[in-house]
Symmetry: C2
Subunit: 451 residues, 2 copies
């Protein structure tokens, strides 16, 4: 099946040329084969490779039926999750949900009291469903938020109704949330063992909230599966995901430090957040990796634009474009033409926005920012599914080319250890004592203040 | 008057020590004096230095009265502006507006057809006001959006009512928007000549939308003015704005390339966007400057956290903390304690969030990210005004220390020239011909596609 995306690498040259990318073929083929044979680092976490096999057809049917039921019974869905249990679904919903779709709200993706207080206020008197997503059930943010929301829902809707409106997406067998769900009789879906959080958008983790928002999750999975089949091709000139991976690696080796994912379509802004986790968490280790950042144009051309054009030359840029299917909003003519814009009268915003993109890609090229453009033929569920997979596959290869395990995240525990110690979590007594002593030894913080 | 913010530089060491910052004093004093004497680069754009003199008392009274009138007559306000005519107001409104405040919507901050179509749909049947903000009136994005919205408002409310609901913030004398406002009889406010866009939040540019949202703009200006008085102190150990400026410059000179503004409070996320423009546009020139990025924690600890802890060591970090005044949202106890969180039962989210911050600052320090913390005593209009000024003053000094003119933006025209050429704007005929020929010569884009 046709994969509705293409990569334009023209403005990568002269820093990276097609010949240079082609010359990496042996390396690409080597890692491609290891990835598919399951013999590369982190091979236990490559279940995402076959996106249409993550859920069985029966499970997908049940998931869609559950989403439909919740949508009939409730006005909105609160998704309780963080990181990979949050970003993929939110990215898809922001990109694709219709304005009149039932709202999906988020909890436990931060620890802000003011955020959660406002959320609770906005839920007052509304029938809502809860989808709590956590493999272990003990990740602090979602676990805390779930305690608060479960109590809120039980006290507002009653324990029996709450039971029907809570769906847990968690480990198949073990863990705190699995136990609780069994005990309470919640409907459940599975966080697969072989799919890491940042690769989980096409599992039940992402699909249930996406389905609730009225998006065609079968088309999403089909698009990803079509891209997966196309991505079995190891030749870089026939596999834009691999081309992208090779190009960004070569730019990294040449000293570039930051990759900017830029889009002219605000609906894709959350996708950039998902992309940041995917690449940042997969590659940012052993003191390596491009720092992933994003820009929302043309908004940010009027804020970051100066830096991008003339600041320190450490940036590469990937534009994410949508070719067609945008609505027609036309610039009206005005008799007086005080603003001098009559040359645009009758033009659609989509055309103007596209020329702004073409102008920006060229200007950034001229300013010394090597850039490439990934174009979606249209923004629908099939194309977005393909795009998710495109980046996942590119990321896996890119991590291997960089020389890291793209599927682990050894550094994310560092702050958690300190946090548990500071909060006095049972089992952390030694760290608590040591950390408190250390902070006490340091004395009061040496603040700089106005007199 | 007490300025309710303080800087904790503890975790900048060993890369930057207090002695090292103090050793820059002569340099700081030199540029401080030039800034205040109006003898440094860009001295024509330092009107922001005295935030309580940007508007006269009578103008501020009129602005507040206008905001009150619009709030009585309308359900919401649409702000039409981009860059500095957008980010400051939005940052303040997201930080401070109450959940039941009249909504402020935004237009002309991008060129997305889908965004503007949804905006128009959401305005159907609602009485709304328009504040169009543009010094020239010809900046493409707001000018295009204003054409569309003005026509929409006139046809939905009638020309006479529309006239009363449109307020133009523009040049005092000249320009397309000034002429139109005079001709149509719109109420107007002034974009000062001596205050650049990114420094304009405390002028009518920012204050009118902020006042519409029910925020105390007198307190905002008073906080800025208090900070301005305190910032007349050139000694770095008594001026945290200068300390911050010196520290980030020294880190830049030592090879750090990206500054991350991190907050644990989602209401401050848009402030980071304002900050990015302020520093990115002021310093990102002549191939120099820290690239400004931001993180929203703890959300992004579960996405960027791995990179921050163990990725390429090019990052410095500034935490923005709020000390008190957050609402009480408490973790409930649970008899079964399946999630093991009973050690947190009875604790407020605010406490847990604060320990997450302390843990993160320490973990990032240990991971090799020099970081400092700017703490607001509370998040209110006075403190936010002080914070805006803190960053403005720090930015001016920081740009001078870097060796650039912090008040110009020579690079932002690059994409505009290409865009006007591609769109066939009158006066750009030569560029249009040259650019079209050039793009045609290059042939069709050499895309990489799946077969």
């Amino acid at each position: 099946m046709h994969v509705p995306l293409a990569l334009n690498p023209e403005y990568l040259a002269p820093e990276v040329t097609p010949a240079e990318v082609a010359a990496e073929q042996a390396n690409v083929t080597f890692w491609h084969e290891k990835l598919h044979a399951g013999t590369g680092p982190g091979a236990d976490f490559t279940g995402w490779l076959e996106p249409d096999q993550i859920l069985t057809p029966a499970e997908l049917d049940r998931l869609i039926a559950t989403a439909d039921r919740l949508r009939r019974e409730c006005e909105c869905l609160v998704v309780v999750g963080i990181g990979g249990s949050y970003l993929g679904a939110r990215a898809a919903i922001e990109a694709l949900a219709e304005p009149d779709a039932p709202p999906v709200l988020y909890a436990g993706q931060n620890l802000s009291a003011s955020y959660h207080q406002r959320l609770l206020q906005s839920l007052a008197g509304r029938p809502y469903a809860l989808n709590v997503i956590s493999k272990s059930g003990t990740t602090t943010e979602p676990a805390v938020a779930f305690r608060i929301l479960r109590q809120h829902l039980e006290s507002s809707a009653g324990k029996e109704i709450a039971r029907q409106r809570i769906v847990a997406t968690t480990d198949q067998q073990k863990g705190a949330l699995r136990s609780l769900a069994t005990q309470e009789g919640y409907e459940t879906f599975v966080v697969p063992d072989d799919v890491g959080g940042r690769f989980s958008v096409l599992s039940a983790v992402g699909l249930l909230p996406i389905a609730f928002a009225g998006i065609d999750v079968r088309a999403l999975v089909a698009g990803a599966a079509a891209c997966a089949r196309a991505c079995r091709e190891p030749q870089v000139e026939r596999n834009p995901a691999y081309y992208y991976a090779v190009a960004r690696n070569r730019l990294y080796r040449k000293g570039y430090a930051v990759e900017l994912l830029s889009s002219f379509e605000p609906r894709l802004q959350l996708l950039a957040e998902w992309w940041k986790q995917l690449f940042g968490e997969s590659e940012g280790k052993q003191q390596m990796g491009l720092f992933p950042a994003s820009a929302a144009f043309t908004t940010d051309l009027h804020s970051l634009g100066q830096y991008l054009q003339q600041g320190r030359r450490l940036l590469i840029e990937t534009f994410l474009q949508v070719a067609e299917g945008e609505p027609a909003v036309v610039v009206p003519a005005e008799a007086e033409n005080a603003d001098g814009l009559n040359f645009l009268a009758g033009q659609g915003l989509t055309t103007i926005n596209r020329e702004a993109y073409r102008a920006t890609a060229l200007a950034h090229r001229e300013g010394g920012v090597p850039n490439q453009t990934l174009t979606l033929e249209r923004l629908d569920a099939f194309a977005l599914g393909a795009l998710f997979y495109f980046f996942e596959k590119a990321c896996a290869l890119s991590g291997y080319l960089l020389g890291v395990n793209p599927f682990d995240q050894p550094g994310v525990e560092a702050y958690k250890g300190h946090m548990f110690a500071l909060l006095g979590k049972p089992g952390f007594e030694e760290q608590t004592t040591a950390l408190r002593a250390r902070l006490a030894d340091a004395g009061p913080a040496p603040e700089v203040r106005f007199p």
